[in-house]
């Protein structure tokens, strides 16, 4: 195998992000599989995979389609959903045969029904998650819902999901998450090789292509990163500014480019398309459905779920301390009300703990980056000064 530079391998990942349709075409050509899309990211992808289908995260944005759904949906819906729905209407998601929508907020709950009415896929389902996670009823219900989803998937793919299949899928997904966590460590250690944008793009790619392929690419990337790291002059970790991101998604992607320019390093997050996606594994023994449910319940807390036993503010504070972060950046998608409801108390908590924080409001698609650039720059500078 010819050794490529880390940069070139990252380029391969980024190529997939910029044109997922092409990547999916090659998946389908290799093996006839059905592709089932899902909205980020609280769905048991392992179950879709075990049903012989390819789970595809609808997290790649063609921001130009954000207005495409306006005749069906008010412009005060979040741009994540407007854009996903818009892409479907524009025929940009025609390579999907199905869509699974986790019901996590009023927008997902209602838009699912409109979407199904005006532009249905062959297979359209909700994943009806419990929204309270801290009482026994949540787990027994979620197990039942897992069973319902299994039956629906089996019906659609015309194939029984065996325990063996599911174990195999779980192992594969765990392996991918473990590799991605290692990648994240390398990113924190060697941000000059694995920048913020590069790292988060690699995580995003994991939502798009088969995990087998992703694992292979990751191994090649590690190899290259380790070689390059050996040649680095410095002995100790770089003393740059360390930040944590909190919110739903890191959109628009240029946000991370801007952070790269400032020299700040993301050392953790609770984003659906970031570290939260890879933080928890599924147990590889016992009943696999119980294991899937337990993973869901144990995920990093976010605004859509009520969990008083694992309070979001405590988890965020712990994360700041564990990662020795200098500050927190809230990345809030306009019109995402769950995140907005959580902001004041999280901000207050950080303030009381003496942790600097900044909130920026973003949108998928056409946002002007000028102001974001100025504010992020000033924030990072302020953190630098305080170090």
């Amino acid at each position: 195998m010819q050794t490529l530079k880390a940069k070139e391998i990252i380029g391969e990942f980024q190529q997939i992000v910029s044109d997922p349709a092409a990547a999916i075409k090659s998946v389908v050509a290799e093996k006839i599989v059905r592709v089932i899309g899902h909205l980020p990211t609280d769905v048991p992808e392992e179950l879709i995979h075990a049903a012989g289908a390819h789970p595809f995260g609808v997290v790649v944005y063609d921001g130009t389609q954000v207005n495409r759904a306006d005749e069906h949906l008010q412009t005060w819906a979040c741009s994540l959903i407007r854009c996903a729905f818009g892409m479907a209407l524009a025929g940009r998601l025609n390579y999907l045969q199905g869509l699974l929508v986790p019901t996590i907020c009023d927008t997902t709950r209602t838009v699912y029904t409109i979407w199904k009415k005006v532009k249905p896929f062959n297979f359209m389902e909700n994943f009806l998650l419990p929204r309270q996670l801290d009482r026994p009823s949540a787990k027994s219900y979620l197990l039942g819902e897992m069973g319902r989803l299994k039956a629906r998937l089996e019906q659609f793919t015309d194939r029984k999901i065996t325990a063996q299949d599911l174990y195999a899928s779980i192992r594969l997904y765990n392996r991918n998450r473990a590799l991605l966590r290692r990648l994240y460590e390398l990113h924190v250690r060697y941000p000059e090789i694995l920048g913020n944008r590069a790292t988060y793009d690699v995580i995003k790619t994991s939502l798009l292509i088969p995990k087998e392929k992703h694992n292979e690419l990751l191994n090649r990337l590690f190899h290259a990163v380790e070689q390059e790291a050996g040649k680095l002059k410095r002995k100790k970790a770089k003393a740059g500014v360390r930040v944590i991101l909190s919110g739903k998604l890191w959109e628009p992607p240029s946000l991370l480019d801007i952070l790269d320019e400032t020299g700040a390093v993301c050392v953790g997050d609770d984003l659906c398309t970031g570290y939260r996606y890879i933080a928890n594994d599924v147990a590889e023994n016992g009943d696999p459905y119980v294991a899937l449910a337990e993973r869901q319940l144990a995920q990093t807390p976010v605004a859509c779920f009520t969990n008083q036993k694992q309070d979001r503010k405590d988890v965020l504070l712990r994360k700041v301390r564990e990662t020795r972060a200098d500050g927190v950046i809230f990345v809030h998608l306009k019109f995402c009300e769950p995140e907005n409801y959580d902001y004041p108390y999280l901000a207050e908590t950080l303030n009381a703990a003496g942790i600097p924080a900044l909130r920026i409001e973003t949108e998928v698609g056409n946002v002007s980056l000028g102001q974001i650039r100025t504010r992020l720059g000033a924030f990072v500078e302020m953190l630098e000064g305080a170090k």
């Binding site: 005749e71 069906h72 949906l73 008010q74 005060w76 819906a77 019901t103 907020c105 009023d106 927008t107 709950r109 209602t110 838009v111 029904t113 409109i114 199904k116 009415k117 005006v118 909700n126 009806l128 998650l129 419990p130 929204r131 309270q132 009482r135 026994p136 009823s137 949540a138 027994s140 219900y141 039942g144 819902e145 319902r148 605004a303 859509c304 009520t306 008083q308 306009k334 019109f335 009300e337 769950p338 907005n340 409801y341 959580d342 902001y343 004041p344 108390y345 901000a347 909130r359």
Partner: protein, 399 residues
């Protein structure tokens, strides 16, 4: 406009008593429990606790045109102006020193049910933190078509958890016989309320949606108590008298209209006059029909689970279209108005396509208009007036 209802005096008394009980509850150490509008409040009444409805506070603040002021206090804390107006009023009041419509009653417990929306889940969660009291969420999964055993069982199990929680909190055993009494009172009030709403189908009608918005407070807050039953008996009696005396809601009623969903509170009068001027009676809305429950006393918890999870706001597209069309048919309406309410995503998303489909299927003229139920900053008066002008023209043409 028709002469005011005699029962308005009684309504004031009934609601005054209710609020006084809230104050007394505080003095006597009876826990004040915040609940949501679609919530098995019968459990709270049966447990001898005092239920309080922050959404009503929001509606009241909005009707008195104080929403913007309260919202400003919430916005200063970092809540955006695009959140639900009720939530902004409630949170704004918590953070304000000034209370333009009186202070919201502070809770000892905060119970929320998310059948209606996620805003209530989040707003109440935040209130629990702010007032430093326990928070309990009753979680209602989305029901697209028919409900499932899984969902019903989940909701029943949660109500059992809630009853356990109340028992531990109060140190008293929950009395299921009392619950049956409360449920049968709720049945009676709901039956009367439904009969009252149905008088709007008469031509001409003595009662319409704007009247219902006014007279609905007891069915929301006092459902399950003798006070609600007594009130709606009186109101019904008065309606019968009015029919005899030929007093109608809109004096020269020519059209009946279906309205979806909430009213624009600070513009209640504005709209009721606009419709009356055009000889149109807004006869029916899903909103005021939300409290026409019927509980099966043989299976109280299961029946509550059905009533409180299967509300239209928690249902799929087709179900909701059908329900709207059924109401339009039953009330023999001539047109329909769908309110795209910026505060309320769960009732507003989907209205564009629903308008088209309903018009295609029924041949009725219909419009969607944009505004906010509480916040007048989103009320573009001229545009709205123009939209309605065209709508009334369409009605005239068809007549």
């Amino acid at each position: 406009m028709a002469a005011p209802f005699r029962t308005v005096g009684l309504l004031k008394e009934v609601m005054h008593d209710y609020y006084a009980k809230g104050v007394q509850a505080k003095e006597r150490g009876i826990p004040v429990v915040w609940v949501t509008a679609v919530f098995p409040v019968e459990i709270i009444y049966a447990a001898g606790l005092f239920p309080y409805y922050p959404e009503n506070f929001g509606a009241l603040a909005a009707a008195r045109k104080a929403a913007e002021k309260l919202s400003a206090a919430a916005e200063a804390r970092g809540y955006y102006a695009d959140l639900c107006g009720y939530a902004r009023c409630g949170l704004g009041d918590a953070y304000s020193k000034e209370h333009p419509v009186g202070e919201i009653v502070r809770p000892d417990l905060v119970f929320s049910c998310n059948t209606q929306c996620g805003s209530l889940q989040k707003w109440f969660e935040e209130a629990g933190r702010f007032y430093r009291v326990p928070y309990f969420l009753l979680d209602a999964p989305f029901i697209e078509g028919a409900s499932t055993t899984l969902i019903k069982r989940y909701f029943v199990e949660q109500m059992e958890e809630m009853i356990d929680f109340i028992e531990v909190y109060t140190g008293r055993q929950f009395d299921f016989e009392r619950l049956i009494e409360v449920l049968s009172l709720a049945n009676e009030a709901c039956r009367l309320w439904n009969e009252i709403l149905e008088t709007a189908a008469l031509v001409p009608a003595p009662f319409g949606f704007f009247d219902a918005c006014f007279h609905m407070a007891p069915i929301v807050t006092l459902r399950g108590t003798p006070a609600a039953v007594a009130y709606y008996r009186e109101l019904k009696k008065e309606l019968e008298e009015r029919l005899e005396k030929k007093i109608y809601a809109v004096p020269d009623e020519r059209f009946k209209i279906y309205w979806d969903h909430l009213p624009v509170w600070p513009r209640l009068r504005w709209f009721s006059e606009l419709f009356a001027e055009n000889g149109a009676l807004v006869a029916v809305s899903q909103y005021t029909h939300s409290w026409t429950h019927h509980f099966d006393l043989e299976r109280p918890l299961e029946s509550m689970a059905e009533n409180y999870t299967e509300q239209f706001v928690n249902r799929g597209f087709d179900y909701r279209v059908q329900l709207k069309m059924d109401m339009m048919k039953k009330y023999k309406v001539d047109g329909f108005v769908l309110f795209s309410n910026r505060s309320c995503k769960p009732t507003s998303f989907g209205l564009y396509d629903k308008r088209k489909i309903i018009s295609e299927r029924t041949g009725l003229p219909g419009i969607v208009f944009e505004a906010d139920m509480a916040d007048q900053r989103y009320f573009a008066e001229e545009q709205i007036r123009e939209k309605f002008r065209i709508f009334f023209e369409q009605l005239q043409k068809r007549a």
